[in-house]
């Protein structure tokens, strides 16, 4: 049903290029395995069987930045780790997006001191912030769906 009705006799579908590219980007967005602290455990729970993230296209988590599109910064970023985060972000090929998962990545969280970067947006540009300490796996999935909606609305002139 559906697609075959629109195909007509010649088997041709017309659509806008933007819609097509955005749709394909959202449906197979692979995150990079970048769990730092407690939020990483909730990210692993979101990937496991109960709150399955592979329903949303995130079947695998790639440890290599060269093979991933999405960096979920899960956990607190310390001052020693900040250059490493930036270097990994630079190694990811375009198009790339960043989700700041948890309070520590969004704004420094409970820890307001010399050792923690107050919000990972001082180091990498962030697209979606997910609040919680740690956010429930459902909250993370909501953040991912929000990111998908944001990507769907991207315009051709903003593409990388």
């Amino acid at each position: 049903m559906g697609l075959e009705q629109k195909l007509g006799n010649m088997g041709v579908v017309t659509a806008r290029l933007e819609d097509l590219v955005n749709w394909s980007r959202t449906n197979a967005m692979w995150p990079m395995l970048f769990g730092l602290a407690c939020c990483a455990i909730e990210m692993m729970s979101a990937q496991a069987a109960n709150y399955d993230m592979s329903r949303f296209g995130m079947e695998l988590m790639r440890p290599s930045p060269r093979q991933s599109d999405l960096m979920i910064v899960a956990g607190r970023v310390s001052r020693k780790m900040a250059p490493v985060v930036r270097r990994l972000y630079d190694q990811m090929p375009d198009p790339k997006w960043v989700i700041a998962m948890g309070d520590c990545a969004s704004c420094g969280g409970v820890f307001n001191n010399y050792a923690i970067v107050q919000g990972v947006d001082e180091v990498v540009p962030v697209d979606v912030y997910v609040a919680g300490c740690p956010p429930r796996p459902e909250a993370l999935i909501h953040g991912v769906v929000t990111l998908h909606e944001k990507v769907r609305r991207e315009k051709m002139k903003d593409w990388a």
């Binding site: 455990i41 496991a48 069987a49 607190r76 780790m81 490493v84 409970v110 820890f111 300490c133 429930r136």
Partner: protein, 409 residues
Amino acid sequence: MAQIEEVTLDGMTHLVSDRALQGETMLLNMGPQHPSTHGVLRLLLELDGETVLNAIPDIGFLHTGVEKNMEAKTYQKAEVMSDRLDYMNPVGNNLAYCLAVEKLVGLDVPVRAQALRVILAELQRIASHLVWLGTSALDLAAMSNFMYCFREREMILDILELVSGQRMMTTYIRPGGIWRDVPVEFEAAVRDFIKIIPGRIDEYESLLSKNPLFIDRTAGIGKISAEDAVNWGLTGGTLRGSGVNYDVRKFAPYSGYEQYDFEVPLRTEGDVRARYFVRIEEMRQSIRIIQQAMDKLPMGPVRSNNYKFVPPPRSEIGTSMEALIHHFKLWTEGFDAPKGAIYSAVESPRGELGVYLESDGGPKPFRVHFRTPSFDNLQVLPVLTKGFLVADLVAIIGSIDIVLGDIDR
């Protein structure tokens, strides 16, 4: 424009042998972001082909400054930070901190609160060992175990959410008792869980214990003798895999552990496989403790009634003037602890978790130090991996069961 920086050895040149600096052996950086290091741990490996000659750990990528930050908060507010140290065992961290505060101040905890603390701590121990099993088996490419372990862990997190409202960082255990009494559904939920879990642990064992691939990858790997283990300061499952009978729950019992009948599993080989068996058996003994605690659970209050240190129940605030004044003082200033220093330890799933707490008479802790087990357990890694392959290194890191939040604090 991206700057190309020269990668230096960051002050570790004196630890690297001359052969490496001349290029005979290879220096490999197993960097902070790696799927098998269980957190942000950097290892500088010196390799001769595939054999590891030296593995130098570089830690500090998760340093949070908890000890200094706690000095700026009152005793009650500082407890929130203690959850987030060893993030696999937040209930145990709360318990360690609260026992230290109670020892410093001289507070008594009612028996019902002690029994509930034991039940929650043992549930947390099972949850932590499930994650250990899932992730270390995942490193050895046993992926289905990971999915099964997380399914059981969800049951435990459901119980914690039922009791406190939060899955992981509960802060349910407070100085003087626990936050509030457990709801009626708690008993049914825990009993259902302990009926199901022994069968599930048998399932995991059937996948791994007699599997020839698993045996090849873990038997004889990463051995350490009992004396060396004690001298290097190992505690927990890593030490008991070498045959030393040291468990803080039996050595210096706290929170009523002396009334429960359980064994401390020991193995003598000291390799990765011995530690695996020790932790599986620890899960079974935890189930025994929970069973006994649920059967003996006494009735009574769940918080001490010393309102100088413990907040009064909210129902009394409307009717009693003293309760209102105590509540006001505790929330604005906090309580004053007597001047002195104590050390108190609990058994976390990783080993001896100790808290050194010193007070100068004021409402804020003067110095808090956490003696975390993973800090000492990781120190022995170069000794354990000398002469083994890189693939064995991954198995050894998994068997030591480190959590980087514990190490870097």
